[in-house]
Symmetry: C3
Subunit: 342 residues, 3 copies
């Protein structure tokens, strides 16, 4: 991955941790234990994988104190209380070493309104459009083909990957990362029925996004009908997610790809929502709730905990028999009741 | 939301309705009953929320005749047969007052083929691409970064938000609204298996979309294999929806986000399809069918009605027990039958 | 569809097959049997539709040898061992006849780094961005508004439709087709929890895509965390699919729209995955596995076969009763067991 290897001592100087042995070892990449070679650094966070210590070829393994001895017996080791967190910080340091630095400045092909406000050290990519009244915070990076509409705000050091739409009046805070294809601020889905068909309810709210938020590719966050749709600080959204109008997502909640939150639902802080899970509209979900993948939530959840509603898959012919019986389940219960009465 | 408040009398002059009291009141915004302040107008459409009349701070409430007295007892009121429809029209009027007017003209950075036909009062945004033979109707608005491919048609007063692709030969009628990231006219998914792998079936049809259609962000509508994929007048599609090749959706059907309609399925008029509901291919769905959210439709529906197939979620440990039993459901029925025979 | 009809004899000269009668017939289009007119060619691949032979108005029907006599009795016929494959090849030939040829060259509005390498006969569309170190193979076509980031590779004769993002360091092989809105190489979704919130795990891998791969509109394929996400030769992905980091999809596997494959899952060769089916992370799926639409796969599948887990939909009031009973299914089994003991 990296053209220039780095000495373990340099890595330790940057990230801390106790190094056991091998400070002169040159590291050329980061790898999983079972794919590492003699120039790789690996980590062991889950004790389940401890057996891999015996076979990994990694030059150095990041481990917790309990495994320090075992790791050092086979080669260099970095000892740290939380190896997975250390690994995360290592990937950040590695990315910074190996990726090109941001180039402050406005690409000559970008179309920036004279009424937009650009902070210091801002990078505006090729063919980006920044409309009137938009505000781009210091050191923010706006990728190629992005559209930042009128009066939208991008916080300090937030990065929009190529081809993001940030709708008029919408705001994202500091240190955010928005991936390609994201649409923030499309209209919420609201219509009044009439004899002549649906009459559009213009969506007059905006989208307000806090600091340290990451938003995955092709995810959509609609603007509110009257008040704003709100994503609080530290929320992480994966790809292809739909956040409907007036949803409110609490701090540090994380949501895996392809799920949807329907209109006006309020989700607490520190929740996790599995992939392709859906939550219908106008619900309240408490703090600390964990929704399993592919679950449909149809009523309020008032207590923290793990909630699931995934249809068990099976070999097709078994499924056919069971699914057919499922359609008669209520009748089956009545039959059991009748038997019990006898 | 609005910098310039407006007198209730002016609002009534524009939208009609019977005003009870307060014609000089200045309205600065529209809000839900429970969030309204003394400069807001609110509406009460659902009698369930009637108790909020006593506590709302709204300057004026839009109500049906049955609630006129109760509403007028607490402040100004607008009386109208359908408060929700009135509210929808109010949001439209409000948006028109407060949003910048369209600017007719072609942005100098747009790339418009000399063979494209642009109607009167058309707005073409920055960096849009309009290919040869494309036709843009009067007063249509094409957003930044849109691509209108060769021989595609955009009807009068239809608006494409920034970054929409309208594929070659595809058509959308009048007064439509297409949100960012929509792809109309990508290839349908068709392959013939062969000993050497899949052989592509070129998709030779187009997409034909009627008048008054709204299409949500990042939704995809594929072109037909031979004949066209058809979306009739007044259809409303939310975000992240997949409409496969040769689907036909009847008039005024509405579909919430994240669902998919597989190839060649025909959906009637005046249906509603809940969020994340899926309909498999080659089916016929009658007029007036309502599909609940997250339901999978696997066979024809010939009668209007409400249809559901959502797995009930529950606390994870209960789910585990019930899901395990579900895999033995057919056997359980056999056991009940055996008991009954005794 | 086509302005210029073609004689059947010319069609046979290009595609082969045995023509029975009608070599002078002029064909103006391809149509399904039941929509064909006197200037159309149709095909009959599924014996179930044999009755349509009696009523179709098609000028010529493509049939298997077993139906040659019946087809020739009513008009011209092309006899070929695999009519569906012949039809696929016919659509390709037809598309080539009727669509404008690629125009080699770089559109003057495209922004191509001087450090990018463009092969022979390459077409770069309007407003495309090709970054430093990118390599575009011979006769590849890059659509309008595409972004090919630094060091990304596009193989020979691969076509990117308008508005595709191919992330830095990602590769796609030869003869691929990538539809609009696709995002290849956004970050995988990886974070380490900490007391101060989630800490991002930078995604240091790339995406590697083989030859002859088609990717549908608005689909996302994330880059790997350490190693690459891999899509092997001949894979076909429909629209709005999510492929998470470090997924591996084997040769000639096809996946219909709107499904998701979670992180590090490995899918074999020659699988089919139905629409809106989801596979959770860290699983192994064998070769030759067929997953039904809307199924959630939650554990390894080691044997080829058909696997299903779709909740059966029904009329809403029946569903309510059955779903309520489902929540007590385990208890119901206990009651049956108690009855059996008596």
């Amino acid at each position: 991955m990296s053209p220039t290897p780095v000495a373990l001592s340099e890595l330790i100087a940057a990230l801390g941790g106790d190094l056991l042995g091998g400070s002169d070892l040159q590291i050329a990449g980061i790898a999983p234990l079972d794919e590492a070679d003699e120039r790789s650094i690996a980590f062991l966070a889950n004790p389940r994988y401890q057996v891999q210590l015996a076979t990994t070829r990694a030059a150095c393994v990041i481990v917790a104190p309990a495994l320090a001895e075992a790791a050092a017996a086979r080669g260099a080791a970095i000892v740290t209380p939380d190896p997975y967190l250390y690994f995360a910080r290592l990937t950040q340091w590695w990315a910074q070493r190996t990726r090109p630095a941001a180039k402050a400045g406005v690409h000559p092909s970008a179309i920036v309104s004279p009424d937009a406000k650009l902070g210091q050290g801002v990078e505006i990519g090729p063919l980006a459009v920044i409309e009137s009244g938009a505000v781009i915070g210091d050191h923010a990076r706006i990728g190629a083909h992005c559209v930042v509409e009128r009066d939208a705000h991008v916080g300090e050091r937030t990065r929009l990957a190529p081809r993001v739409v940030l709708g008029y009046g919408c705001r994202i805070g500091a240190r955010g990362l928005v991936h390609s294809g994201v649409v923030i601020g499309a209209d919420g889905f609201g219509f009044a029925p009439s004899r002549d068909g649906y009459v559009k309810i213009e969506q007059l709210g905006n989208v307000t996004i806090g600091d340290d938020v990451e938003i995955g590719a092709n995810t959509c966050i609609d603007r509110g009908a009257l008040a704003d749709t709100v994503i609080e600080d530290g929320v992480k959204l994966d790809n292809l997610i739909q956040i409907a109008h007036n949803v409110h997502i609490g701090k540090r909640t994380a949501m895996a790809g392809c799920g949807a939150i329907a209109g006006s639902t309020r989700i607490g802080a520190n929740c996790t929502i599995g992939g392709a899970a859906n939550i219908i509209g106008h619900l309240n979900i408490a703090d600390g709730v964990h929704i399993s993948a592919c679950t449909t939530v149809t009523r309020d959840i008032t207590q923290p905990g793990v909630y699931t509603g995934t249809y068990p898959f099976e070999e097709n012919s078994s499924w056919q028999k069971n699914a057919a019986t499922l359609r008669q389940l209520h009748t089956l219960r009545e039959r059991v009741r009748a038997l019990e009465k006898k």
